[in-house]
Symmetry: C2
Subunit: 594 residues, 2 copies
Amino acid sequence: MTYRAPVADAAFFLEHCTSLKALAGKGALADVSPELVRQVLEEAGKFASEVIAPLNRIGDQQGTPFQNGVVTMPKGWKEAYKAWSEAGWNSLPADPQWGGQGLPSIVNMCCVEYWHSASMAFGLGPMLTAAAIEAMQVHASDALKKKYLPKLVSGEWMGTMQLTEPQAGSDLTNLRTRAERAPDGTYRLKGQKIFITYGEHDLTPNIIHFVLARLPDAPPGTKGISLFLVPKFLPKPDGTPGPRNDLRCASIEHKLGIHASPTCVMVYGDNEGATGYLVGEENKGLACMFTMMNLARLGVGVEGVAIAERAYQQALAYARERRQGKANGAASGPNAIIEHPDVKRMLLTMRALTAASRAICLKNADAIDRSRHMESQLDREAALEEANLLTPVAKAFSTDSGIDVASLGIQVHGGMGYMEETGAAQHYRDARIAAIYEGTNGIQAIDLVTRKIAQSGGKALHRMIDQFRAMAERVEETKDDEFGTCSFCLSKTVDSLERASAHMLKAIKDDPQDALAGATPYLRIFGLAAGGAYLAECALAAREFGGCEKPENAARVAIARFFAENIAPASSSLERQVVAGASSVLGSDVALSA
Amino acid sequence: MTYRAPVADAAFFLEHCTSLKALAGKGALADVSPELVRQVLEEAGKFASEVIAPLNRIGDQQGTPFQNGVVTMPKGWKEAYKAWSEAGWNSLPADPQWGGQGLPSIVNMCCVEYWHSASMAFGLGPMLTAAAIEAMQVHASDALKKKYLPKLVSGEWMGTMQLTEPQAGSDLTNLRTRAERAPDGTYRLKGQKIFITYGEHDLTPNIIHFVLARLPDAPPGTKGISLFLVPKFLPKPDGTPGPRNDLRCASIEHKLGIHASPTCVMVYGDNEGATGYLVGEENKGLACMFTMMNLARLGVGVEGVAIAERAYQQALAYARERRQGKANGAASGPNAIIEHPDVKRMLLTMRALTAASRAICLKNADAIDRSRHMESQLDREAALEEANLLTPVAKAFSTDSGIDVASLGIQVHGGMGYMEETGAAQHYRDARIAAIYEGTNGIQAIDLVTRKIAQSGGKALHRMIDQFRAMAERVEETKDDEFGTCSFCLSKTVDSLERASAHMLKAIKDDPQDALAGATPYLRIFGLAAGGAYLAECALAAREFGGCEKPENAARVAIARFFAENIAPASSSLERQVVAGASSVLGSDVALSA
């Protein structure tokens, strides 16, 4: 078995550290129970490790050959996708009205992790479809919904999200793709999109593209962007794919990783223009995008967790097996390299970063669920602010962790790690994209600082800081030696977050340049405090529910301690960067010009 | 121009921050002058950017196809290598007795940086040859020297270093390759070596392998290993390649990066055994290896610098050209992304890490030169201890920097960075190996802690800490606002190093496990203090020689400041890991077993 989904850990966290129990059995979640959730996770984990994981290597090696506009997916992928969607995995979180199973976000996010651990390139396509479903559920007309949602929800057709153009990446202001009104109420699109994930493939008989474009009379800038649904094949009245639309894949990119995820250049309107249908209102396309953005960003954060988990499992297995050198104190060598303290430090760092990132992502998903399912509107609004706040942290911190953990995974393997046959290098290559797409991690930091922390005057932020501090205090109260200096280190980190936050809330008013220059280290502090606090919460639950005689519970305490003592303390130097160091960034220009 | 060698910076550092001026013109360096050195660096830089740099991409794409035991180098590589060696670049540091130019190590290391910046896969072959030359100069018999050294020094033939076997990587104890004595005084080798860089290729008409093997009556472990010179073709009496020796390349590896550097599995003794010649004494092979190890490790550190420099230059050029988003305070957008503070922070981090790593490597080379050329034996011995101390730091810190900087280089490029055509991804792939080979960075940390810091009771270590502190004090004395809080931050870092060192010196006696668990963070603190101090020294020289009206001198101050304020402060949390955190590594086992 090359990959085993960490179901027990997730189920424990969901049951004891989230609102799942409180929300389950009521309202829209009437049919949901912790037992059902555990069962879903177990089945998902099984499917991921048995069906998807074996495709990962072949996907990396074969890639997706492109010829005459046709993209051929790697061997076995079409069959696996069919089995996956027919088993209902694509419909997990969607509205039952359209064939979805209406399960909480948090359950779906656990599964998203498993798909991506098994194969990031595989998981990516459905993640884009899910974003399209999300946007449609909120913004599309009933007619469009009826025609497309059931097929997208079932996974019979897949969806794409098309924003980027050569001159419009992080900033969509200068987006140029044109959409002209046709007499029949539809639109004709002309233009070019780049970096389109799963823009063309042979997994499904139709692909539904969601394309940002500009009307002829649109105001300039991002307030003049509209969202269009543009099918590859225009459906016939019976719903089956009909005539080919005026769009094509012009080429695919040769990338560092995720080779089995075709990244396409898409061309619209070689002839009369591609037929598109407006989603939402004219010129309000960006609002539709924002609807699905939080969820997509969290999904990418989960990709970071996923690749970290896979890399960790592989490195751990290798370190137990590979014998080299006599360990200090051992009677004779060679010993398994896991016996060497330096290797142990690497593995613990991998494990702790993975667990912290996962905890942040799951807390984020939990906040989304509470924002949808809590009874009181006030609670729902507070939960939404919490979700908004956590999203950039979940995305950036987790994807940075994915890269760091995959890199450590190579290092644990030594020379073997650099050989492609080992597989550790693929994780490293695959992981690297997650810090870039769906808003680079720099954009996440800017979003956190300029939009998220100041929501309702910083109330959500301060509530969260209070929660983090409470965790440190609860650890202290246990007086349990197994926690080491966890409480002390965590408190220090929360202190750093509090001071850095005060600095930032002032800076975004008085000196935006200063705030922008410190955004990345600020987000990192936030991630360290949040990750540390959530791991502590999980460790406290482990003591309470089950007790530390069980090795898995002792492990939860050990991970919280390791993270707090070895990883979280970086917050102090990051705080210096936020509070005092910004001027040295902006004042050091000369170093970039000489 | 895709790459421009940073000659002016190197020349400035060599003239003002090393012993080059003091050593030049005397003894073995009688013919060396700062003017000559600057000329050599300029010519080397020109050759690297004009001849080698254009080969880097093609090398990555074509790799080195292997068929029937033959490795074919990429298009243009043979011609470039010929031109390079004929221009005398291979012979730079070697003894004039064997056709070398006897230039100081530090000059050669600057050139080594340029070759590797231009193409790491190209630079790697000659680096192995240089290691072989080094071992031969010290340990080989006169007869062997006469026969092989002139051809290795000129570069007409290349050399390899062959240590690793499947079961003998970081630990050579269980090395199995056998060497039997033949009646004619030569030896017959049988066995298999793996991960052999440039083990087979078509650049030169002969390849001279340096192979570790075990005699039939050798004591077990590393005290029973001997070093043999094993030519691919046995030279005829006239010195030209004669009959093929009983060895072959069995396969080459498919690696993450450095595709144009063939990594070979070598097989010895399909028939009667490969003819080998003993280098040094029987069973003293490891001592011969140690001779060249310091230099080879420094060379790999310089590879880290080289790839960082190349990645930085590319990211800087892209950030100046790519326009996206309106910069805060700008009248209108889109602006060059270098105008965004977060991008500026990334570029400055890249520049500062590169400069600090280079400074450490050059100081290390300077110590090697002083250990060879200073008049008093006491001074030479002190310099050697300094070189020994700096080597693991130069290797590990610089190669970690190479990876971090290459990763930031991708990030600055955004989505384009993930596309292979951009070239940023190749640097990231190439850079990754340098933290692994020539002793993993974990091995370097263990070497630093268990062998190097305790040399002569810690005298060299404390002398160096005093030097670092003096730099912080000299910065303070300038009372120059341009330094910001550089002196304060640097002092704090040196304090951390001092306390962590005291802890380590005690731990290696009292609790080796504790020392081993903290070795990696300890090395990192050392690198931060050394890098910060050397950049400060360079900045002080910039103020003194030329003054800060010159942009390049102002840049030197800005880099020292940025490093001290933004990068060095990580030392405080690393110190926590060294002093208090080790127990949490060793006490968290349970997290790896549950």
